[in-house]
Amino acid sequence: MEIIQQILFVAALGVVAWFITKRVQLISRAIKLGRPENRFDHADERLKTMLLVAFGQKKMFTNLLVGVMHFVIYAGFIIINLEILEIILDGVVGTHRLFAPYITPIYPILIDVFEVLAFGVLSVCVVFLCRRFIARVSRLQASRHRELRGWPVSDATIILTAEIFLMVAFLTWNASDSVLRDRGVGHYGELQGVVPDFLISQYLKPLFAGFGDRALVAYERAAWWLHILGILAFAIYVTYSKHLHIALGFPNVYFSDLQPKGEMQNMPEITKEVQLALGLPLSTQPDGSQANDNGEQSAEIGRFGAKDVEDLKWINLMNAYSCTECGRCTAACPANITGKKLSPRKIMMDTRDRLEDIQKGWKANGYDYKDDKSLLGDYITPEELNACTTCQACINACPININPLDIILQLRRYRVMEESQAPAAWNAMFSNIENNMAPWKFSPSDRFNWAEQVNEVKF
């Protein structure tokens, strides 16, 4: 029996590892569709940002209570993974609580910590479900935000429910194990005097008082298997889900923008055109600290701006896969607050949806497959793009430094420079700047007239 369990367990690990590897390859292939951009500079500053914002979750504490709750889940996830190590070894080797005899004095303390965290994670997941479905936190409501309709709400519910289920399995497994140990059944009894009752699961022991020994062993095995298989299944699920942020959040913050939020990235290919137009000597690469295209000036000029995901930068695409759809960006967006169609969260979700659709095309028709859709038009409409005030509230709000504005800007650039499709009023503004040196129709020679009133105005 033991050996069959071991074989099954190793097989399960293998299947899961294979699936996850496949998914990781597919996702990284999709991210690499993006244009190159050097985000490997200033390692020390990036590391500091990652420690503060990703590991320390600094921006989550804007709302203290939510920050603390999220931190409980995060700490639980990281620390309970230590226990997963023992579970996996037990599964492979066929032992039971492998570490207990070796680290007897601290073993119960470790499990107590895991249990407290598990209980914390469970409680917070319940609170988070209540926030979604009872308190109805505005930014999480599909009724108010069209991008959440359908799958995204189910996704969130599945994640929270799965975490509750896993924690219940973990705690009741410990409880049933404790009862079996007390009764001295089989190898369970060997841990008498080595492992005591644990902090939380001791209160669950009465649940199993009425179980016969065989039923109890069956429950213990079932809980153990469901817990570990649940975790493995969840690991695969994560790659299809918004929950991918648990992995991508860290690199996403590491590679995030370092320059001031108001700085918009230069387009060196346009600089060349401008220098030609003004009859200036062509400069070499600008030597600014934000060198931004790996120093390579490609001979062929691609598109100006972005029409589809491959025109965006890889970091924009990583942003899309990292997005957890929490909606803090959209809740802070002045356009969205005042009823415009624009939602920064939708921009990120659309970008990911587009990538997922391309992935499906790859799977069905091979990697050379191209469909006839594009991010601009089929997923994101001009009306959304035109509503952005570039106020950067979305960037400021994102707990993992995602930048929706960068995508909006690149799509706008395509609309204006490739399609000449700016709103009429913007075209008027452009021609005023071009002809009058100001966005309004004033004569440039009147620009200094204000000085005549410098001694007349009364304050």
Partner: protein, 266 residues
Amino acid sequence: MLAEEKYSVPTMADMAAAGEDPEVLFWVGCAGSFDDRYKRVTIAFVRILNHVGIKFAVLGPEEACTGDPARRAGNEFLFQMQAVSNIQVLNAYNVKKIVTACPHCFNTLKNEYPELGGRYEVIHHSQFLQGLINEGRIRVQDGQSFKGRKITFHDSCYLGRANKVYEAPRDVLSALDADLVDMKRVRANGLCCGAGGGQYFKEPEPGTKDVNVERVEEALATGADTIAVACPFCMTMMSDGVKNKNREDSVQVYDVSELIAQKQGL
């Protein structure tokens, strides 16, 4: 006190012709040059510069739009045409330090011109005023009193979030003897006035409300009688919002430099 010709506005061209260098170039910007309301801000700031005895100059007719609205609307080509031309002018005059009363010009000159060859020390007029107050060069005493007045400051996105300048305008306002009250959404969480990113130059997209009305409601909720701004677009948007709420008799919108000029009796 002489009534006539107390204040002067030297141009960069005049100074260069006289073989002189100003300690700072005042970048007026399009709104400060052409917008009737914001011209008053330009003039207030110029009077303060005169009063304190700062050796400054303006470009006057040689100044052109920095290109900020073009870049943000997506017209990178037009932005760079403007930027490269402006940088040629600024570099020809060997400009080192620039002050401007427009956060959009400030952000563009400070963050976006360096990569195109324009490297200057750029400060916003609120920071400049803050410095003068801290050095004791502005003494707020002679003019009108602000006793019992309640002022709320509206953060400009391109001054605040974009460049993390939150304290300077508030410091300047705290030199007045008024009460300062903050709105609910301030500093990094400040709500936009609705004008940035080229929005100022077109009608808003369909929605349920205008952004500036949303923001003015928030400002009015503080009970302030004065909304202080530090940006020409914010100035227009907030003033329009106050009009929309029919409160222009009881609530005024001023730039920080106007309030200082009032306080100094300039």
